[in-house]
């Protein structure tokens, strides 16, 4: 997952949220270190069928004038030595800054199969000690891993059939085509 990307539109944003995953944490009763799907971070908290929940999100998007842009961030990318590349914490405002400028139409982005990412120099890195190769690593996309991930997400969605909205399967297919 790159440091940040912007979904192409509301439905794509709902897909991005619906395919979130995480490691199990201490606040949950279970083993640490297991990756699990956690759509919109709501898997343990959605009080009804997740398929209906996805549909509700899609429906909401149709009712909003000019739906807000949806973004995905990942502060946790590691280098080959296992160190976090992005400094995180207070420095995360640099990513939020780009996001807000995108929302206002004053920052440029470039298309990738995942979504829109900042073009060079759009992310304010002034005063950060970040090597250019590290910046590149923060935005690297590995197609072979993503093709597996797309198939895996499709499998994950299947458990919510027949309530799963068709739109999410279309987003899944569209993403595969972009690779």
């Amino acid at each position: 997952m790159p440091l940040v990307f912007e979904a192409y539109n509301w439905n794509h944003g709902v897909y991005v949220g619906a395919t979130m995953s995480s490691e199990l944490t201490a606040a949950q009763y279970g083993k640490l270190g297991i990756i699990r799907h956690d759509p919109m971070a709501m898997m343990p908290f959605c009080g009804y069928n997740m398929g209906d929940y996805f549909q509700h999100w899609l429906d909401m998007g149709r009712k909003i004038n000019d739906p807000p842009k949806i973004f995905h961030v990942n502060w946790f990318r590691k280098d080959s030595d296992g160190n976090f590349i992005w400094p995180g914490f207070g420095e995360n405002i640099r990513v939020l800054d780009w996001i807000i400028r995108r929302a206002k139409g004053s920052a440029d982005a470039v298309e990738t199969p995942l979504g829109l990412v900042p073009i060079a120099n759009e992310l304010n890195l002034e005063g950060l000690n970040l090597e250019s190769y590290a910046l590149k690593e923060l935005f690297d996309i590995y197609p072979h891993q993503w093709i597996d991930e797309i198939a895996e997400n499709r499998k994950f969605f299947n458990q919510f059939a027949p309530k799963l909205p068709q739109e999410l399967l279309l987003e899944n297919e569209a993403m595969l085509k972009r690779f």
Partner: protein, 409 residues
């Protein structure tokens, strides 16, 4: 004086089932809160920390078998199984009521049943929902007084509402074989029995504000989301709001309370924390999305909270905070893994056992790693809370944001 007949009847029925020695109505007053603190202290349920170093702070331990949300014992009890979905455990409502009634039956004998009328969301806002939690735990009462709005206005409003969320909680005998967290969205009801731990028992939080609220949101056309809300103020004084969903332990609270680096501060950037866990999102009259934080306090994980990761939180928790399951130091202070400064030489751990720096348990683990897993602390809202968090209709939302905690891609 409560006049809502529906509420009085329900409290009466629950009292007959749980059979407490007495029933006490919580009014949100400072006098009552101080009285309860003293009672809980006398009963050994909480420990008053060193008041010079930690003014207004208390320490609590949960039972050793009761240190996490128990998702495998958490159920959505809708009439039709398909409405709960494969993302939830499901039990038929009549089976769930029958099974839990067996555990609640006489569970409050020798104890007090507290009636907590509370509001999630700001008063007078179309966002807000009203609930009542019955509990036999003073710890729950003291937490609810921080995390939700409990006051005379809420009591008064209860006289005029037909529907409210009915929450029933009993520690019972804290038996993990008789523990259930049951949600009845079609009845606007939550029953929690056999636990004394955070998310299982503070029924206004995950139970009402996410599980029940997400169900109501679908019926009523809004969203209850596991999201922080923050405002980013630029040098011209414009504030843009972001709501963001992060999986647990991925830095949601830290992001919500972010302090910008010098280069941004010097330009005049400021961060406003509206909420760190839950966002209720509606479409406003202007057709845009508006969000509010239904909670009135912060509840966060202690390990890793230090002056680098979250200086605002660290400042906030120096007073009026309830600490749960962290290390209790011998001078009545607290410490946690990756906290501030050097670890103390010794203290008393979350399980009540003596702890020494470098101690190894019988499984060969460093003992302090065990503490790390179970620590929770509660934060009182005096951090840079945005004034809009308390008024209607909330913050106008620019952008939902998602993050995975994934490192494998």
């Amino acid at each position: 004086m409560m006049k809502n007949r529906e509420l009085l009847n329900w409290v009466n029925q629950m009292e007959k089932m749980c059979r407490p020695d007495r029933v006490v109505w919580i009014d949100g007053s400072q006098e009552q809160k101080e009285k309860l603190e003293k009672e809980a202290e006398a009963a050994g349920e909480i420990i008053r920390l060193n008041q010079e170093k930690w003014p207004g702070c208390f320490y609590h331990r949960t039972a050793v078998n009761d240190v996490a949300r128990t998702e495998h014992l958490t159920y959505i009890c809708t009439r039709k199984e398909v409405d709960a979905g494969s993302n939830n455990n499901w039990m038929a409502p009549e089976d769930a009521y029958r099974k839990a009634s067996g555990y609640f039956d006489g569970s409050m004998k020798g104890r007090t049943m507290y009636v907590i009328p509370f509001m999630m969301g700001p008063p007078g806002s179309p966002f807000s929902k009203i609930g009542v939690e019955l509990t036999d735990s003073i710890y729950v009462v003291l937490n609810m007084l921080i995390m939700t709005r409990v006051n005379a206005e809420v009591v008064e409003e209860l006289n005029h509402v037909e529907d409210f969320t009915r929450g029933l909680h009993s520690k019972a005998d804290l038996d993990d074989q008789k523990r259930l967290i049951l949600h009845f969205p079609e009845d606007n009801t939550i029953w929690s029995v056999g636990s004394g731990y955070g998310g299982n028992v503070l029924l206004g939080k995950k139970c009402l504000s996410l599980r029940i609220a997400s169900y109501l949101g679908r019926q009523e056309g809004w969203l209850a989301e596991h999201m922080l809300i923050m405002g980013i103020e630029d040098p011209h004084g414009n504030i843009d709001y972001i709501a963001a969903a992060f999986p647990s332990a991925c830095g949601k609270t830290n992001l919500a309370m972010l302090i910008p680096p010098e280069i941004y501060r010097a330009q005049g950037y400021k961060i406003w924390t509206v909420g760190d866990d839950i966002a209720w999102i509606r479409i406003g009259d202007d057709g845009r999305l508006w969000a509010t934080n239904p909670e009135n306090g912060f509840f966060g994980v202690a390990p890793g909270t230090n002056s680098h990761s979250n200086p605002n939180a660290l400042t906030t928790i120096r007073s009026n905070t309830i600490f749960t399951n962290v290390l209790l130091t011998d001078d009545q202070g607290v410490w946690w893994e990756d906290g501030e400064g050097e670890p103390p030489a010794e203290g008393t751990a979350w399980d009540g056992k003596r702890w020494k720096h470098g101690l190894v348990d019988d499984k060969g683990k460093k003992y302090r790693e065990l503490i790390q897993i179970h620590d929770l602390l509660r934060l009182f809202p005096s951090a840079p809370l945005h004034p809009k968090s308390g008024i209607t209709p909330g913050a106008c939302l620019s952008l939902p944001l998602y993050s995975g905690g994934v490192v494998h891609l």
